[in-house]
């Protein structure tokens, strides 16, 4: 029987992979993909909690992932646009190069 | 009441004009922006006269009221209305807004943005005087002060303070001004929150930001609250009104600002501070006022003398006028500190009169700067023959400022000092000594700018455009009118002032 803990474990693993990616990858696109992984980890949590605690007829928990997916899509669009303009300016997608805000 | 539409229109006409310019003004077309601003200015001016003349001093305490729920859960409502005190301020705002808009016709670059910012300031100032909701006061306060930063930073000019060896950059002054105003604003906000959270304890059924409801609260029931909160509020508003030693933003800010903004800063923004002291500090915390005002009377006299002494040393025209504002605002503080009807009427009259006079002086100083490209009186001289119109207006403004009978400054100073005698004689005598100094620095400035031998290196032309002449003439007409017939103002404000004094004396 697959219980809630399986889902939580899956989401934790996904989250950790995403976090590791965000912290270590230098490629902007890879960083963005890692962020997507973290989003999805949260989405899995939402759905799982909703299903196990509220039952199948209450979909309040399922609404949030929809929101998150929408936001993630727009975020990806903006993020890719930034990376694109970064590439245009610096001919690279290495995020370490984009340190102009540095004090 | 239906009459509220006039007050609403007065408040929203600059905002509407700003929006209109923002949306429809084609870039690089100054005519549209000027026309829109001018129309709103004339509209507001006419409305302010209507409101002032139709205010009934014998009627209810707040008139022209409009009250709409905005966030009822938090006790915030859009509540506007005027009493005898704000009626005077509304008139002042109406006059000066129009004068400032006309003076702004001299602005040549980025006209569109300039007028949007200017109209926002005007709306904010008007809002502060008519709102009866503490929350909205903060909103309007910020609306009036934030655009100042951009106006000074972008359209301002550098100045030279006498005892500084470095040139005061306009960006520096803008930053200083905005930091000070925000500091004052922060204290005001915190004090208003304290009032809000204690309003239930003070006997109100629910927490509210509504001024009229708070007026029925008894904050004196809460021990220590008025005692602690009054000085905080007084100083917070005092920062805005140029209270020594929190005045240093004032000379820099006023001098750096473009002409019209100096007029608004000195003319109405300073008065917002004094108005706030009357409206919020004294009226809501009368027991604190009674306790603390005698101390502030001493600071007020320091204000008068200190400002006058500093003005005597300056050689940048705008700095002279700015320090004279510090000195003259001291008279307002002194009048408020007397806690009697003569002093309070004098203080209110001084708020009005000083607004008109300083705006006039700043306007002429700005015009001189524009024509001669210097504000240093040591480099000027002998201009009376070349600019007779400016010379006459500046002399008249200066005379009004030094309290010549027949002009509004005299009535204000006379009433204030009459009141001060009933309060503390020594302070009256010390304050009156300021009159000698005022005469000295104003006449010295007049002499160095306009009199003396002809300076062939300066060849400026006189003010000739209608938008340069009409506001100056109109402002002079105002000081003469209210100097000769002061009863117009005193009869409007009398009952409202008496009710505040009754609160402080514990009668009402």
């Amino acid at each position: 029987m697959i219980g809630i803990f399986h889902y939580l474990a899956l989401s934790a693993v996904l989250f950790c992979i995403g976090l590791y990616g965000v912290l270590t990858r230098r490629n902007g696109i890879a960083v963005l993909m890692s962020i997507e992984l973290m989003f999805n980890a949260a989405n899995i949590n939402f759905v799982a909690f909703s299903y196990y605690f509220k039952g199948i007829h209450f979909i309040s928990g399922e609404v949030f992932p929809l929101f998150v997916i929408a936001v993630a899509a727009s975020e990806a669009a903006v993020g890719l646009a930034i990376i694109l303009s970064l590439y245009r300016n610096k001919k690279t997608v290495n995020v370490d190069e984009a340190n102009q805000l540095r004090g | 009441m239906d009459r509220a539409i006039f007050l609403n229109a007065f408040l929203f006409s600059p905002l509407a004009a700003a929006l209109l310019i923002l949306l429809f003004c084609p870039k690089g077309n100054p005519v549209f922006a000027r026309t829109a601003a001018l129309l709103s200015g004339i509209f507001g001016f006419v409305l302010s006269i209507y409101i002032f003349t139709h205010y009934d001093p014998g009627g209810s305490q707040f008139q022209f009221q409009a009250n709409a729920n905005w966030l009822p859960a938090l006790g915030i409502g859009y509540h506007i209305g005027i009493d005898g005190i704000s009626a005077v301020m509304v008139l002042l705002t109406g006059i000066l807004n129009l004068a400032a808009i006309l003076t702004s016709f001299a602005i040549k670059d980025r006209v569109k943005e300039y007028f949007i910012f200017l109209l926002l300031v005007e709306a904010g100032v008007a809002g502060c005087f008519v709102t009866l909701d503490l929350f909205f006061f903060i909103v309007f306060y910020e609306l009036a002060s934030i655009p100042m930063y951009f106006l000074i930073g972008m359209w301002g000019s550098d100045g030279q303070q006498a005892s500084r060896k470095w040139v005061t950059k306009k960006e520096f002054s803008a930053l200083k001004l905005i930091l000070y105003l925000q500091l004052g604003g922060a204290f005001i906000l915190v004090s208003f929150f304290v009032l809000y959270f204690f309003s239930v304890k003070a006997g109100l059924p629910h927490r509210t930001f509504d001024f009229v409801e708070l007026l029925h609260a008894h904050f004196s029931r809460i021990p220590e609250l008025p005692k602690i909160l009054f000085p905080v509020l007084f100083i917070a508003f005092g920062i805005e009104a140029g209270l020594v030693p929190f005045h240093t933003w004032l000379p820099d800010g006023h001098s750096a600002a473009p002409t019209a903004v100096s007029m608004l800063l000195a003319g109405v923004l300073l008065k917002m501070g004094a108005y706030g002291i009357i409206r919020f500090a004294c009226e809501l915390l009368p027991s604190g006022a009674k306790l603390w005002l005698p101390l502030f009377a001493v600071i007020a006299v320091i204000n008068i003398l200190y400002g006058a002494y500093c003005a005597l040393k300056q050689y940048d025209i705008k700095y002279i006028i700015a320090y004279s504002s510090v000195s003259h605002m001291g008279i307002v503080f002194l009048g408020l500190a007397t806690q009697n009807i003569m002093g309070w009427t004098g203080a209110l009259f001084q708020m009005f009169s000083h607004g008109i006079i300083t705006a006039l002086l700043f306007m002429i100083a700005g015009t001189i700067y524009e024509k001669t490209h210097t504000r240093n009186i040591l480099k000027l001289g002998g201009l009376a023959a070349k600019m007779p119109f400016l010379a006459v207006t500046f002399v008249l403004g200066g005379l009004a400022s030094l309290g010549l009978p027949g002009m509004s400054g005299f009535v204000a100073e006379f009433l204030t000092f009459m009141g001060t005698f009933g309060f503390e004689r020594i302070l009256m005598i010390l304050g009156l000594l300021g009159l000698i100094l005022t005469a000295l620095y104003i006449l010295l400035a007049v002499r160095k700018i306009f009199f003396g031998a002809d300076n062939p290196s300066l060849n400026p032309e006189d003010a000739h455009a209608w938008w340069e002449k009409i506001p100056a003439a109109a402002l002079i007409a105002c000081t003469l009118l209210f100097g000769i017939v002061p009863g117009v103002i005193t009869s409007i404000s009398q009952n409202s002032l008496i009710s505040v004094i009754h609160l402080m004396k514990g009668i009402g």
Partner: protein, 659 residues
Amino acid sequence: MDWIKFAYLIPLLPLAAFLLIVFGFRFFKGSRISSYVSILFNTASFVLSCFVFLKILNLEHTDSYSGPIQFSLSWIHLHSVSGIIPLHLQIGILLDPLSAIMALMVTFVSTLIMIYSIGYMEGDPGFSTFFSYMSLFVMAMLTLTLSNNFLLTFAGWELVGLCSYLLIGFWYKKPSAAKAAIKAFVVTRTGDVGFLIGMIILYWKTGTFNFIQISHLNLPALLSGWLLWGIPLLIFCGAVGKSAQFPLHVWLPDAMEGPTPVSALIHAATMVAAGVYLVARTYFLFVISPTALLVVAWIGVFTAFMAATMALVQWDIKRVLAYSTISQLGYMMLGLGVGPIGFVFAIFLLLTHAFFKALLFLGAGSVSHPFHEEENPFDMHHYGGLKKKMPHTYWTFLFATLAITGCPLFAGFFSKDAVIDSAFQSRILTHNLLWGLALFTAFLTSAYMFRMFFLTFHGTKEPEHQVHESPWVMILPLMILAVFSLIGGWFGFSWYRLHLPWHDWIERFMNPYVQLYHIPVSHTIDWMGMGLGTFVFLAGFFTAWVLYSKGLRFASALENPIIKPFHQLFVQKWYMDEFWGLILSLFGFGLSSIASWIDTNLFDGTVRGIGMGTGGIGLKIRSIQTGFVQQYAFIIYLAVLILIIFVVSGGYLWTARFF
């Protein structure tokens, strides 16, 4: 008659002239119209004053005289709140003998001087401006004269000060004129502050500004302690400033920078006499305090003496006249200060002095007219032997000189010597000393006036310039004034009891005051007073004759070790300018430097210090900001981890115990 109600038009007519010139400036430019407007309205005002004067004269002679006539308007009204007296300010006019005769004199002299100015100011680019200022001045002076309360008097008081400022600085391109204008305004304003303080205290004690109401109160009961002498002396401060009494006399000699008609009207006949008028107007405050009277008398006599000594050594004809004015004003103050006995004579001196001093100034203007190309056309070094070239000026000037020095039958003989004699007869403390000093000053007056007269008109010197007589428009006012310098005194015979039909005319006219202040009227002819007056006049005349009639003689006497320090003292104006200069640089500019330093370094310095400190801290800690977003994210991750461990281990419960 009801037309007396139109008396308020007396000050309003010159105001109308002023407004007409100001608004019609463009059209009047370059023509004489503005002078005609001024003179027309001024004459109308003069005619109205005559009517008022005659009306009051008639009222006095009937038994129906019921005191002064007043009309008032409410100006500001503030209710009484919580035990504080209500503020009810009125503006109104008061018609009584004093104000009526003063208004008559002001309108009369000003009309004559305006006529003279047509000639004097001919061709000046500021012709219209000049006449507008003059009209404004007359309006202000009449306001001050006719006002029935302290407030309106103060308003007129300040406005005449303004006109004085504007007219002294009329030739604003001259730096000395611009400086003198400021000096005049600021010095008189110093006195005005005292006046204002006295006024305000009086209101709080009596509840009114109205002269008549205050004079009917029981003042000694209301004003206790120091206020009894404090209030009159504070009001006297204003008079000291405006009437150029010691120690605030320093502005008047410098005020001679203005055009000569201005000196004649404002700085000789009317405005400077306003201080004397004020003391007379508020005399009910002075009579109750012997201390105040004594101070007034001593200030007056000392000013008279000091100014006379300075007049002795001046070479600028207008400055001689300026010091002479100060000196004569000192006499008027002395007359008021010795008590009610001198009151009428002080007023009488004020009126007659207006005639002959205006005449002297106008004459000096006429003399200097051919010399206007000189750097200082008033320098007597240029003059000498002008008698033949300008006969009209010479004779009128002689009349005025005889009048001021107290030659028998001329105006000063009746007025000035009466003042001196009243000092002798009064019972005030030290009255003998006052009288002695006043008499000695009369000798000095005679000496310096004839010195000036001889240096200007006599002597053998041939003028370098093409000297000519002035136009008729200037001579005519001189002649009229000369007539009044002669007959003006005859209205005040009463003191000598010579039985002419109008012998006690001035005294009768001032009868209400005689009764109000219980002025004793003597009925014997004072031969000693007359004799002494004539004697000092002759002594002064001969001194001047010996020393100066043949040009400057005995110049070497100035090197005498006894005379030299005195001469130096008088030439240096008793070092009063230096004294005030020191005060100004200490309490004015000195304190202003300190204030400005404090402003920059203490207040602003603190603020800038805080600003810089904030900036400095920012500079130090900004190195944390590496700009690597992943590093930030790692730090966030770590921080969240620590928080979670903290919460899970129950740490926050542990810390909560402290709160």
